[in-house]
């Protein structure tokens, strides 16, 4: 039971990370490979808040403040990194963001206050499944509502055609930055939640590989689809565990099978499971009725 709860919780954290990265990569079309860096900032500032400066209020309030601290500090990092990096395009942006996330990790390793290479221990357990999924709902609601307004349309127009967007009066840099800041902010919240549920975080737990895995989640689900990001996050979190349970042979080969499945999916459906579409419950009901 504990194992299942742990898996479900991880799913929640990765849903937040995937949905927020989808805003940057899928919606704004800015190829960022630094999401693990923002996740780490959120986790470490959240953990530092809970250990060094918890407020004299009930734990659940502290949890909310901690998530706020994690999210805001990751957003600030997003502004600082976004302003120079978002002037770059495509591969160059990917390399620059990747570099920044590695810098963040190396800084943390060299900071003794937060445990350095030993990791950050004894973080209070404030978060549980309920809190994580409350934040999942908040993340999805905020991002999907934002996308339905003119700010969201402006963000998508950058992905579609930057020159046309500029010629229609859209300050593309501003909206790239908005997507970047909101996206990194939610990654920070996911980090704080991660810290409060695991109670132990380690800098190498936020390395480059995780940025790639979160990116895989949204590519698998369909770049530009929030539903796709959710489904991709669930599949890629559960898949290795499901393969592990399928007997000793499959378990041994599970990483190979995992990779093969990804390759096959990309061959059959390069646009991802959902493409750019969203799963809409209301229109499905309508279609079923007629």
């Amino acid at each position: 039971m504990d194992y299942l709860a742990h898996l479900t919780l991880n799913c929640g954290i990765f849903i937040i990370l995937a949905v927020s990265l989808n805003l940057i990569n899928g919606m704004a079309g800015q190829f960022s490979l630094g999401h693990a860096g923002f996740w780490a900032i959120g986790a470490y500032t959240g953990a530092a808040f809970s250990t060094f400066a918890p407020l004299p209020i009930p734990d659940w309030m502290n949890l909310l403040v901690g998530c706020g601290v994690g999210g805001i500090s990751a957003s600030i990092a997003g502004v600082l990194i976004g302003i120079p990096c978002l002037r770059l395009r495509g591969d160059y942006l990917a390399i620059a963001t990747l570099g920044f996330s590695e810098i963040i990790r190396l800084i943390i390793i060299n900071m003794d206050v937060v445990g350095g290479p030993r990791g950050f221990t004894n973080i209070p357990k404030w978060a549980n499944l309920g809190w994580v999924y409350l934040w999942v709902v908040i993340t999805i609601l905020v991002i999907s509502n934002l996308m339905k307004g003119t700010h969201g349309r402006a963000i998508i127009s950058i992905r579609e055609d930057e020159i046309a967007a500029e010629s229609l009066g859209i300050n593309t840099f501003k909206y790239k930055l908005l997507a970047f800041v909101v996206g990194s902010g939610f990654a920070g919240v996911a980090g704080a939640l991660f810290a409060y549920s695991q109670q132990f975080i380690h800098p190498n737990g936020f390395n480059f590989l995780w940025s790639v895995i979160i990116l895989l989640m949204i590519i698998l689900g369909g770049l530009g689809s929030i539903t796709g990001a959710v489904v991709g996050a669930i599949i890629l979190t559960l898949l290795p565990e499901v393969l592990r349970l399928m007997g000793p042979t499959i378990s041994e080969w599970r990483m190979v099978i995992y990779s093969l499945l990804l390759i096959l999916l990309m061959l059959w459906r390069p646009q991802g499971i959902f493409g750019k579409h969203e799963f809409k419950i209301f229109s499905l009901i309508k279609r079923l009725k007629t």
Partner: protein, 258 residues
């Protein structure tokens, strides 16, 4: 009469050693319908790109309603009332037809990102107004039945029309059309000529257009500028241009016998 809406004073664009546009003077007045013609590579689109802020001129001044816009960014110039279409259509292909139009209303909306997240009354009212306006515009362009189609699924002629509609949705004072008739058949081209004249009168805007289809240019434009190798070689009304020896030379070459 007041001065011109748009006045380019000897604008020049150099790309390295290449003189793409060399000291070109254009004047566009209110309600004008002006054409720019010239052989391929004459620098017509480069002139458009300078006016709309995609390039910054190497020399010269672009004056938009008594204001120098040389160093303004493209989105500011759009706010000042210049809209354009592109030679190779640049629609937002994965957005619906109506969203393409709604995007162009972006600068008129004042609600914040927060109010869009919280779905405030202000957000809903402004969005409703925007949608109404977009549908009105789509009706003018006979696209309202296609409003929920993705832009990429429209046939070519309709994509061109949608691009003009999108440019108009920014409420411009000056509309720049870059080869609006490219790839259209004669019937579509005739319809487009009528549409351009009608748009000018209905929206009371000035239109500056680049076009290779001489039929359209001669029908529609009241004044024509001719560019060749980046230089302005002639200007005047259609019949003056048709009989101008320099223009004939640029298009057909000189005879060696004379």
């Amino acid at each position: 009469m007041s001065g011109p809406i748009l006045h380019t004073k000897n604008i020049t664009m150099r790309f390295g050693g290449l003189m793409a546009v060399d000291q070109v003077q254009l004047k566009v007045f209110k309600n004008d319908l002006v054409g720019i013609i010239g052989p391929n590579g004459a620098g017509k689109t480069t002139v458009f790109n300078m006016i709309t802020g995609i390039y910054t001129p190497s020399a010269g001044e672009i004056i938009l309603q008594d204001k120098n816009i040389n160093n303004e960014r493209a989105y500011t110039i759009s706010k000042l009332g210049v809209a354009r279409t592109f030679q190779n259509i640049r629609l937002f292909k994965d957005l619906s037809v109506i969203d393409n139009i709604r995007l162009a209303g972006h600068q008129k909306l004042t609600y914040s990102g927060i109010s869009s997240i919280l779905r405030t009354k202000n957000f809903k009212e402004q969005e409703e107004k925007l949608t109404e306006k977009a549908i009105k515009l789509l009706k003018i362009f006979k696209l309202e039945d296609k409003k929920d189609f993705l832009a990429r699924n429209l046939p070519y002629g309709k994509q061109r029309r949608l691009e003009i509609a999108r440019a108009l949705a920014t409420d411009p004072k000056l509309l720049l059309l870059d080869e609006p008739a490219a790839g259209m058949n004669p019937k579509e081209t005739r319809e487009l000529s009528d549409l351009i004249i009608w748009l000018r009168d209905y929206f009371k805007i000035a239109i500056l257009l680049i076009e290779h289809d001489m039929g359209l240019v001669m029908n529609v434009c009241e004044r024509i500028y001719v560019l060749d190798y980046g230089k302005l070689i002639a200007e005047g009304n259609p019949s003056e241009i048709q009989n101008n020896p320099k223009v004939i030379e640029a298009y057909l070459g000189t005879s060696e016998v004379d």
